[in-house]
Symmetry: C2
DNA sequence: ATTTTAAAATGACCATTGGCCATTTTTAAT
DNA sequence: ATTAAAAATGGCCAATGGTCATTTTAAAAT
């Protein structure tokens, strides 16, 4: 009931309100077409206030990314089934990630932007550090499941869980990026549908992961 | 010998000089930290002149990308060996693309930026259109080789060349992006080396592509 | 040579925007 | 009612992409 606790709580609420506004505008207009002024207007604060809660535009976007990673982590975990094989669960979480990329456009774009970010490990900003760790947790889900698959025999035992988790994550993200950004062009120039691309991806992954 | 031809030639030279300058600054400072003024200074023209040769900064960067795609296409073609199996040639061009991503940092970043670009097919700018087509030619190399592999038996005949070419291109680009941008972090948080990641990628691709 | 015309280049100027900070407003403590 | 601290403000600055009226340069015409 202390006044300090209340102030702390209100501060978090204000921070969250700014994040809500930022997310809304970022998702509508994209990172580069979004001005801090328009976020401020949406949040009903002055621009200066934003900088009391976030160091800069970059960090604000990273805070949105963090939400995205947390949501993704949740969706992937929901996709897991205890009674399914580890291999099947890899397919399950891949499918969940595919759906995420289609349904959560704004968050997925934030992840793509993150994938292209090269940051200084010794000099991480607050939100960048948090989102990095959240991203690592997502990868950890993959690692754990590949490890399980080696044990339950549903995944080729020659495959190293750690390395292949990073390979799967990065290559699937790259694939989903193409699906998202180049679908129209591929359809137009090569008459290839999104469904066939997805099917082919999963076909190749099955062959790659399954025991020979 | 006409004066018109000479002027045309000189125009191309000036355009190329601007491109050289732009490339130099873009590669040193990155797309967003490069100002048109600094390019103009490097090219020894005024800023206004740049806009006589390129519609805007975006198009200028796309023109650099075009150079990158042309160089990549050349390197991939050089990596092909007539006496090798089609599968082996896929590995050869993949390795060449990997080297390209490591050696030609600036061009590879331009390609990554391109991968994230969503453009209106009905309203393509000049340089964007050219680079798009150059990118398609790179993919075509993959398509042709997978097709060959189905015929010479070095690649699983269940695999559709068109679809799997796009899958391979996008997933490998995504993988190389991770290698480029996250190598330090992966090493730091998971103690996984670039070499092991690359090895694992090729292991998975071999299993995926080879006949069962 | 001189004048006219066209092509090329210039750089001052504008609007937008990320970020800053001196000042004001609000809230809590005394 | 007064003081102190916290929060918010909005005017300001510097950087920058892009434009355009003017100037400069080169070619063509006389």
């Amino acid at each position: 009931m202390g006044v300090l606790e209340r102030k702390e709580r209100e501060k978090k609420q204000r921070r969250n309100a700014i994040l809500d506004a930022a997310e809304k505008i970022f998702f509508q207009q994209g990172l580069f077409n979004t001005s801090m002024d328009s976020i401020a207007k949406e949040a009903e604060f002055s621009k200066g206030t934003l900088y009391l809660y976030f160091k800069n535009k970059e960090e604000l976007y990273r805070a949105v990314l963090l939400r995205g990673f947390i949501l993704l982590e949740q969706k992937l975990k929901e996709a897991l089934h205890d009674d399914a094989s580890a291999y099947q669960n890899i397919i399950n979480i891949s499918t969940a990630y595919y759906k995420f990329s289609q349904d959560e456009d704004g968050y997925f774009n934030a992840i793509l932007s993150y994938q292209d970010d090269e940051f200084d490990i010794d000099n991480l900003e607050v939100e960048s550090g948090k989102s990095l760790k959240a991203g690592n947790r997502v990868i950890q889900i993959l690692i754990d499941n590949i490890e399980k698959g080696r044990q339950d025999g549903s995944i080729d035992s020659n495959i190293n869980p750690l390395e292949s988790a990073f390979v799967l994550w990065s290559q699937f993200t790259g694939f989903l990026q193409m699906l998202k950004k180049k679908r129209e062009i591929i359809d137009h120039y090569f008459s290839v549908s999104q469904e066939n691309l997805l099917e082919t991806y999963f076909l190749l992954v099955e062959k790659a992961l399954r025991p020979r």
